[in-house]
């Protein structure tokens, strides 16, 4: 159970996206990236989004995390319209509801594992004495509790990505948005990351949206979607 931000028990989807569109203007015209995307994600569900490079997978992920604004459509998170939130409320949404894992294992290089995991808690204004337990708990979920005081820049690639997963989990979000989290890992480490995700999702509170090229990663998920020419199809 999420102690930091208690998750409301709901029967419906956590994420409900309807007719979501995104386009960019380059001065000569409009370039559509997403066209009328519909998506529902339920609690504890693992969803993979596949598609060729430039198909808009990452853009969809960024819109779901409110890192990018949508051009049109509807996005409800736990029944609440989140597309029109203010900048401050968007930041609050990211703190409370989502955790990100990126392809490049973006850890803070000059910090320890503990300090990397502490940042989300700092921004969420968690009391300092509560932080160590939360951090250790998050690291235990990726089997890296023994690396607590290790400098981030001395970790292996697989360990770095697992620390990134733990950092996404430390605020106990309802959705993890992962952008090709195994993209730069070898098969063994990639498998370990997916096993970690499976264990986390099995606990039922958190959902996962994962953008990937890797069919083996997609096979680990409950549902797989394909994004082609800006249109999302369920495979």
């Amino acid at each position: 159970m999420n102690e930091l931000y208690p998750h409301p028990r709901i029967n419906g989807p956590i994420i409900q996206v309807t007719r979501l569109s995104k386009h960019y203007s380059n001065g000569h015209g409009v370039i559509p990236v997403l066209r009328g995307v519909n998506l529902e994600i339920h609690p504890g569900e693992m969803v993979a989004v596949m598609g060729p490079s430039g198909s808009g997978k990452s853009t969809l992920l960024f819109i779901l995390g409110l890192l990018l604004p949508a051009s049109s459509g509807n996005y409800q998170f736990l029944g609440q319209d989140v597309l029109n939130l203010s900048r401050t409320d968007q930041a609050d949404f990211r703190r409370r509801r989502v955790g990100f894992v990126f392809q490049n294992c973006d850890l803070f290089e000059n910090s320890t594992v503990y300090e990397n995991l502490e940042f989300p808690l700092v921004y969420a204004q968690v009391e300092r004495h509560e932080r160590p337990a939360r951090i250790v708990a998050a690291l235990e979920r990726v089997n890296l509790a023994h690396r607590l005081r290790h400098p981030a820049n001395r970790l292996s690639g697989g360990e770095r990505q697992r620390v990134a997963v733990a950092r996404a989990l430390v605020n106990q979000p309802q959705v993890i948005l992962a952008d090709e989290p195994t993209g730069q890992l070898d098969r063994q480490n990639g498998h370990m990351i997916m096993e970690n995700f499976k264990q986390i999702m099995a606990q039922g509170d958190t959902s996962l949206v994962i953008v990937t090229h890797d069919t083996q990663v997609a096979e680990c998920c409950h549902r797989t979607f394909s994004l082609e020419d800006g249109v999302l199809y369920e495979s």
């Binding site: 995390g65 930041a91 990211r94 990126f102 910090s111 940042f119 700092v122 921004y123 204004q125």
Partner: protein, 392 residues
């Protein structure tokens, strides 16, 4: 983001990237140390500078005498007048003197005429005279009316044919005097041809000696001259009847010394300001570079839910911590410099002034940090998350 977290994270960043910040910290520390030293030691240094400048110009020497008219020939100053002048604010000391321009001596059967001053023991400090050989007349010489004499170097040469004449006997108006010292020939001018003996001895033994009608007065600094000089007649007349009083000040020299001091001060203060500005520009440059090199970090933190204000506050806090720490180090260096300088020139600058300078230095440093860090911090806070995350 809590304030304690903000400061902790900022200090951690500074410590971990300390090599990047050395130059900037050094500039601010030196600026602060210079500022504290100059302000705290300013007056004491000026007084010492003033003493040394006397050898060149005597700008702070004020001569008080009676007009040389028959009606005032017998006017003289009292010791109460000298005491009153010594108590004036901005006056370092005052000395009473008697004089004759017709002293006679006979040395080896050859007669010489020369000028002679009867001076109290304060005279030497007031006029800034020292000896090249022997000693000056003392308070004991005055009290005991000793028959001792200090010669100007040219007079020693004239009378004895050489200048190492300490211990020699000299006959002046049929009394035998012992030469106890020869003055250094720096800044003496015509007085190089004069002889000097204790004030009381001159009054007792020298025929046709003048009344005590001249006072030499030294101000603390050249800034005090124009405050003290106009008040002198008023102070004297409050003690004694003093018609025909004249106050002589070397105004041209005061003006020149002030001009020199002004340019020196301007140069010093400009150097300090330039150092601090360089420090500020340094902070600005370093923080701009930090914002650029930490672009992905900024994007990542925003993705974690950091608000724009939190990002801005973090970079601003780093800039302020940087300048504050440097200023703290500068204050310590300033304290050491003040201690060493105080020891060297034997002065005791007021503690309150030092503390005021330290506090002012820290406040200026914080202001500098805010001013220099504001724009880079704004840049950081306004970054779009996705562009920042994708920044290579």
């Amino acid at each position: 983001m809590r304030f304690s977290d903000l400061i902790r994270v900022s200090i951690r960043q500074l410590v971990r990237h300390r090599r990047r910040y050395w130059g900037v910290m050094l500039a601010i520390a030196l600026g602060t140390a210079g500022f504290i030293t100059i302000i705290t030691m300013g007056r004491d240094l000026k007084q010492n500078f003033n003493r040394d400048l006397e050898l060149l110009g005597r700008a702070t020497l004020v001569k008080v005498y009676f007009e040389r008219l028959p009606a005032y020939f017998h006017q003289n100053f009292t010791s109460a007048t000298v005491q009153a002048l010594r108590k004036m604010q901005g006056v370092r000391d005052a000395s009473l003197a008697v004089c004759t321009y017709m002293a006679q001596s006979s040395n080896n059967g050859v007669a010489h005429n020369f000028s002679l001053f009867g001076v109290d023991n304060a005279f030497w400090d007031v006029c800034g005279f020292t000896t090249q050989d022997g000693r000056l007349t003392s308070l004991a010489d005055n009290d005991l009316r000793q028959r001792v004499v200090v010669l100007g170097p040219e007079l020693a040469q004239t009378l004895f044919g050489r200048k190492d004449v300490v211990g020699k006997k000299l006959e002046i108006q049929q009394d035998i005097y012992t030469v106890v010292g020869v003055l250094k020939n720096v800044g003496l001018g015509d007085l190089s041809h004069f002889a000097f003996m204790p004030f009381t001895t001159a009054q007792d033994r020298i025929l046709r000696i003048s009344p005590a009608n001249r006072i030499y007065l030294r101000t603390l600094t050249w800034d005090d001259v124009d405050k003290v000089a106009p008040l002198i007649p008023q102070v004297i007349q409050s003690v004694q009847y003093a018609p025909g009083l004249k106050v002589e000040v070397a105004w041209d020299q005061v003006k020149r010394v002030k001009a020199v001091a002004f340019w020196v001060q301007l140069f010093i203060y400009s150097s300090i300001v330039a150092t601090l500005i360089l420090g500020g520009v340094g902070i600005w440059t370093v923080m701009m570079a930090a914002v650029r090199t930490r672009t992905r970090e900024i994007g990542l933190k925003k993705a974690m839910g950091a608000e724009d204000q939190a990002i801005m506050a973090q970079f601003l806090a780093e800039a302020v911590c940087l300048s504050f720490t440097a200023s703290l180090a500068g204050s310590f260096v300033g304290l050491l410099t003040v201690e060493v300088t105080s020891h060297l020139i034997s002065s005791h600058p007021p503690q309150g002034l030092f503390l005021f300078c330290v506090i002012l230095g820290l406040v200026v440093a914080v202001g500098l940090g805010v001013a220099a860090g504001l724009y880079p911090s704004l840049q950081a806070s306004r970054m779009e998350v996705v562009s920042a995350i994708r920044y290579e």
